[in-house]
Subunit: 338 residues, 4 copies
């Protein structure tokens, strides 16, 4: 059993890491930190873990012999913690946005911060296992993608990879409210959002450059991303509806073959006609469907659980690859379905 | 046209007062106050009122010649504002909890405050028009009931009034989240409450003594109220399921006759088999249904829009009675239905 | 008072017509028909109308002297009813899809039916008052637009009208479930749709050619519409997120000026930064917001109540124009806001 | 590995059995039947199981050597299937209502059917493992309880078992819509139920005599149950708020001690202050909280996932006991929490 720690465990992704790790066959969760909750039981902050996770929050990690550390710290905090963790010899998987954007100017533009750990920025492997598994297997440090990027990159990567679409793509993304985190805000106040869908940060969300960066890596050329997030009155799950323009027309069947072939053997990709949030919620699966809408227009839909495949599940999938475990270890169960 | 002002207009009940008053045939909304929002347009805080309410928030009322002032201030603040308003000669309708409980010790127990306006406490008429219209018509000062009390008192009053039930009643109440106000909290954070029903303050909610007080007035004897509020994943509306024990058994038809007779001619009471939140939302109606559950057990269900009949609509209904207007003036429209 | 009848009154749009007409100052609802419910009270099918609508359903209209008849019949049924109604001298407003598409081949392609009233097809004026008020004022027969078309055409018309965008537009539309009608289906079964957003009929929804037709009329040239409807877990309301490509770049302020100018004086259009479903629900308003997303890309968002501005409210707005009433007669109230 | 079959696998409980069995360490799902779907893949009806369940539906079981058969057939159908299954030597767990009520007259009254398998009725052990584990361990045939009974019996059993409460109890139950099954109905049509809580069958739901029967067995005396089910706008989960009257007053701490002691060592009972639907959804846990509401009144709240602990999970828990497996085999994971 590998020993794992979670730094910053009071939020939703921390709780989700614990939920998943507590039944992992090869990894044992041995420590979680939280400054505010130091000394209290993890199962006090996350009552659904009572009977599964018996440790208490530490203020900071008290030991330095973890095999793997997940940092579920806020943006801006991770880059102060990661260097020491890497030095300790642990494999590190950072769930924040600190190591996703490789260009420090781009990082500063979107996060409003000077990057304080440029040295490790270059070492961080962007962790989408379906696309970058070879790099991930060799990595000691993973920058775990955001939920919107995971969902939309998986939808569009096959088309860019095969050079089938033009460089401009539109991503109309619909997220559940748990994606906004555990802290109450005006936007996630139930009377505000409970019977509506609300667009926000149209064209100005910080996941936009992250999506662009990854798609450019896959495409090998410039990509223009028009990204429109919306907040759904749903607690878990995410759907992206992506619009692209084919270089040359292809019929729907040919497009579906591209996807079937591209994702052949990928355990957590499920091709379907219409992706279902209910089918993926609770699981690490991503469902993808492809439609044509008139000549040369392709519409790709993708659905994930934002806290699993969009965060903690994918982090564990990366962890599995890094240690040479079965890729689906600890994640091999279906979504709720209903 | 009577001139109306709203003190404390930034919250949901303030917005709702404005929504209803802007189409009232006999009352004109001429001022709203808000300390934080002084100087900004009312329609900035309540964007759905753009085109209907063109005034700006004042820090405090700048004039003293209003015919009626609605105080939608927090508990504890109303009692500092009301005395001067009453002195100004305006009719005052207070939507806070400050003047509902007639006993200052009971008030202190449940609100944690010493009452600072005992003089007016006795003058405040508890404003449920279906029960106390004669007093309301003569009143200059109304204490407007809470949403839970309105919904459950209307459900149980006929049975207590006719002396048909024992003194102990159980009220299992289900409220939408707008009843919790405009301020984001952990309890109303969408990921917390968006897919659940959550009981809270079981046996210890401050609406409990208010319900008891009003039912005792109707019954003419002691009443014991067991009150269990729950938070629904719904934005507007409230349902109360009330359980009482008949002194002597009666069949369902006889019980329904009691209600039909008690509420005969009451514009905003609608007897039905199963009350529907959808039918009352957006309106001042209260739907009531009566069922038997075995011998001597009666179950009374009632549904209202917590912001209309449970707050601002009832305040306007009280206002109508005080000025001798048609009771339904400005309120004579149906709920959304769907 | 003009005398109105509703043919096909058992569904949601029929109920909504009654809800709105019962407080119209110039029009009186005097008859409603329903084959299945003939002889029963309208308020039995629509219990929220009890106390407002006291008539019973007729099997078919028993008189022929109505000033205006609203046909809320299913697609395919309207074209058998409308000719006689027009002959009777009544003004007719058809809420079905039968008279929206002017080309009978296009109609057959999307509705699967031969058109049986080609004579009146040419007379039907497509009723979006903000765009076609001059024609509507002179019309005796209106084809009332669908909800998706209303919401997306209002969003895009100013840009097409001023020749500012390229011909291909993408409309990512999110509808509440009441748009699917009163008949239970697998798609609207709560366990299926209650915690998800579900795309459907991507690129193949019959509102697509209707949107195209209206936008081409506004643009004066060919338009390509990529239309993706989604089903929201919300009962009322609709949001469209529309993507267009500017011919020449313009900044956001200039774009907003285009909208402010285009819709100047239009009572039911409200320009805003982010449209809010909650603000328009219950009302005839359409909220529109415009954003830039990188150079030359414009994102236009629009929100309506699908049953009001998207159906019955707009029908009444058309009726008002036809009779020379105030355009907002019977519709001059704000949305719920919360 | 024991070989399991599911008869009647097209509905929600069938899908849930498959979801749980596909990761059970000691039981293998080898057959599922469905008359309508015979010949199609199980993962076509339950797409979330693609990659986990690879069998196709059979019209009827083609073999007779199953170790255990779960019958997820409708009420009235089970009693025609069960006798043969029992004869085959399989252990049988029936999820329908056919074998829950031991008195055939009571069965006829509530289900409207003559019982056609009285012989096996007496053999069926009512399967709530926390209460009747000794009988279950020895049983070959289990009648699996309904969701409402499971949730409310677990809430009230400790008080009745210890003789602490009077015989009359009130159960105000709130169910998600998946409890109503996979077939669309008016009641579960999203526009009808999506923004409301709806009481139904007050005092006349067929789970009422089942609850009474089980509580009488626990209490050893007559029990009167007043049972009020409500439909929530939630897809999964259930909450019961139960009201009982103490024979002699006890404080809250003493009551909680009763529960802690009664359920000591029970893996799937979690005592808490306020039960959370989110904490139990996706899992086999039941959360229970106890409150006082004035002298001698006790309010017990309980929450379960209606499809897991309320149906398929409990069926597997019973299966585990029958075969001597670890009670939590295949069920040992926490709920989603968020």
């Amino acid at each position: 059993m590998k020993k794992a720690a979670v730094v910053g465990g009071s939020g939703y992704t921390g709780g989700e890491l614990a939920r998943l790790l507590c039944r992992h066959p090869n990894v044992e969760l041995t420590a979680m930190t939280s400054r505010q909750l130091a000394g209290t039981k993890v199962s006090k902050a996350h009552p659904f873990l009572k009977g599964f996770v018996d440790i208490s929050f530490e203020e900071k990690l008290s030991r330095s012999d973890y095999d793997v550390v997940f940092t579920a710290t806020p943006h801006g905090a991770s880059m102060d913690i990661v260097p020491e963790l890497i030095s300790s010899g642990a494999k590190v998987i950072d769930l924040s946005g600190d190591y996703r954007l490789k260009d420090v100017d781009v990082y500063k533009k979107w996060y409003g911060l000077d990057h304080r750990d440029v040295g490790n920025l270059g070492k961080a492997v962007y962790g989408i296992p379906e696309l970058f598994s070879e790099e991930i297997k060799k990595a000691d440090f993973i920058s775990n993608p955001g939920c919107y990027p995971t969902c939309s990159i998986l939808a569009l990567a096959p088309l860019f990879s095969k050079g089938l679409i033009e460089e401009r793509v539109i991503i109309d993304a619909k997220s559940s409210t748990s994606g906004a985190g555990a802290e109450p805000t005006k936007a996630t106040h139930h009377p505000t959002c409970g019977s509506s869908i609300t667009p926000y940060k149209i064209g100005s969300h910080r996941h936009s450059p992250e999506i662009q960066m990854a798609l450019e890596k896959v495409a090998g050329h410039d990509v223009e991303v028009i990204f429109s997030p919306h907040l759904l009155p749903v607690v878990r799950g995410m759907l992206c509806t992506c619009y692209a323009r084919l270089g040359e027309d292809m019929d729907k069947e040919a497009l579906q073959n591209v996807y079937n072939s591209f994702y052949f053997g990928k355990r957590f990709i499920r091709m379907t006609s219409i992706p279902s949030m209910a089918s993926v919620v609770g699981s690490n699966f991503c469902e993808i469907g492809v439609e044509k809408a008139g000549s040369r227009n392709v519409v790709v839909m993708s659905a994930i659980d934002n806290l699993v495949k969009g965060a903690s599940g994918q982090a564990i999938q990366n962890c599995n690859l890094m240690f040479g475990f079965e890729e689906s270890a600890g994640l091999d169960f279906p979504g709720l379905g209903v």
